[in-house]
């Protein structure tokens, strides 16, 4: 297999975490990739963070062995070598009586907060690192939250799966958990408030509870940090008031179920989802996989499927989709059937760049200078 470091200049990096290892690809054109892998063979890779701040590239991965447990490793040489802190990057303090089960999210903060990396984990917890992801500290405000006894577990486990620090206000962080819903802190993580008004929970007696929703993924508008998008366990929503209230934007989609939500790296109003038929029918509608894109903040949606293999009866999991920062934006996603697609034109056309992998759990993409 070719050495990933043999390319030079502007290079597109694609990281694919699966149930049985990590694949890393580089490309000059976002269609033809050279992949290495599997790294971490027989370990699931549920989370990847690519930190390109300060002109350096650090790949962070959540790693989990069914036998040997979870951990976090990082590489500063595009996967040539990996470092795992001996005592663990994420370990629960003894007084919690808890043990880390899985790292669901690794999210580098914005350019203005160098070294800050967030993690979302199972059991439901949020963590912050200030040393680039080598050591994380448990967020006590969320850990000690009075709602905790009532948070539940979705099919995949009880986790804080999304952490969205605001790029303009270091005190504001939004998180999403399944099940529990969206929570927001406006005091740098000291306290957290449930922010689910307008989001339904059809699986609960109260259709619109304060919390308890099964929000699958949230994403932030690139220019208006108070505008957020949510793909719910049935329901697609937008908030324009920092998550205080949510309104449905599901009209125009074939179904309101799905796991992913992507926003554009620069353009407001553009978002992508991958609809799944229903909670009770977890396949692409009719077995025809398609991405749907809005360019008007959810008022209308366009079905995009050029280049996608048909039929396909696999779902796209919540973190198995990503965008890059190039112009036009690249869109990437992988299926539980092990196919990974890349689009260099914002989803108008896709190329299958990997096939027949194990279940794809996480996809991340970045533009790096080699």
């Amino acid at each position: 297999m070719a050495n990933i470091g043999e390319q030079s200049g502007t290079t597109y990096l694609l990281a694919v975490g699966t149930k049985k290892g990590l694949w890393l690809g580089t490309s000059a054109d976002r269609a033809n990739y050279v992949f290495t892998g599997p790294h971490f063979l027989m370990n699931e890779i549920p989370s990847i963070g690519i930190d390109t701040r300060n002109r350096k590239t650090r790949i962070l991965v959540g790693v989990r062995s069914e036998h040997w447990g979870p951990t976090v490793s990082h590489s500063d040489d595009l996967g040539e070598t990996w470092t795992e802190p001996e005592n663990g990057a994420i370990t629960f303090p003894q007084d919690t009586g808890a043990a880390l089960e899985r790292v669901w999210q690794i999210q580098p903060d914005s350019e203005g907060s160098p070294g800050v990396v967030w993690a979302g984990c199972e059991p439901i917890s949020v963590w912050k690192s200030t040393d680039g992801g080598e050591h994380f500290e448990l967020n006590r405000g969320l850990w000690d939250h009075p709602h905790r006894p009532e948070w539940g577990a979705g099919f995949g486990g009880a986790a804080a799966h999304t952490v969205l620090p605001s790029p303009t206000d270091p005190n504001t962080i939004h998180i999403a958990m399944s099940t529990g819903g969206v929570y927001r802190s406006t005091d740098a993580g000291a306290t957290w408030e449930a922010r689910n008004k307008g989001i339904s929970a059809g699986f609960m007696p109260d259709a619109e509870p304060e919390f308890g929703q099964c929000v699958h993924k949230i994403a932030r508008d690139p220019n208006n940090p108070e505008t957020l998008y949510a793909q719910n366990h049935h329901g697609v929503y937008r908030s324009d008031d920092n998550a205080d209230t949510w309104n449905s934007i599901a009209d125009g989609l074939p179904t309101d179920f799905g796991f992913t939500m992507l926003t554009h790296p620069r353009r407001s109003g553009t978002a992508w989802v991958v609809p799944i038929m229903a909670d009770s029918e977890r396949i692409p509608p009719g077995g025809q996989l398609a991405v749907h894109r809005t360019d008007d903040a959810g008022a209308s949606w366009t079905r995009l499927s050029d280049g996608l293999l048909e039929p396909d009866f696999n779902v796209v999991l919540r973190d198995a989709a990503a965008v890059d920062t190039e112009e036009p934006a690249g869109v990437y996603f992988g299926t539980r059937g092990g196919t990974v697609y890349a689009s260099a034109d914002e989803g108008i056309s896709f190329t299958a760049v990997l096939t027949q992998l194990p279940d794809v759990l996480c996809v991340r993409a970045a533009v790096v200078e080699l």
Binding site: E66, H67, W68
Partner: protein, 108 residues
């Protein structure tokens, strides 16, 4: 109680041998087995793991979570008996006994 070095010293009566599964040997200095001194009255499995963990923290994290519990799909046998059927990690190990750490069946 303490962990003996990887040298080729002959075992004596105050030691136990802990066999390391091949997948974990990179976390334990590449060794197939570790010889540990035990207290006169024996040491618990947890104490043996603590001693190994002081030198090889990665090995310890692979075998136990941060609460100290044995990971679900890791088994430890004492002279052929699963310690879960004895007294768990509190099972006492006497000098001359053999402790085997091994992965269980898991995954798909």
């Amino acid at each position: 109680m303490g962990l003996e070095g990887p040298g080729g010293r002959e075992p004596d009566v105050a030691e136990v041998n802990v066999l390391i599964p091949s997948l974990l040997r990179p976390t334990a200095g590449g060794q197939e087995g570790l010889r540990l001194g035990v207290d006169p009255g024996g040491s618990t499995v947890a104490e043996l793991l603590d001693a190994i963990g002081a030198q090889y923290p990665l090995f310890n994290r692979r075998v136990r979570d941060e609460t100290g519990a044995l990971r679900r799909f890791v088994n430890i046998y004492l002279d052929g008996d699963d310690v879960r059927r004895l007294d768990g990690l509190k099972t006492r190990v006497a000098a001359g006994q053999e402790v085997m750490v091994i992965q269980s069946v898991a995954g798909g």
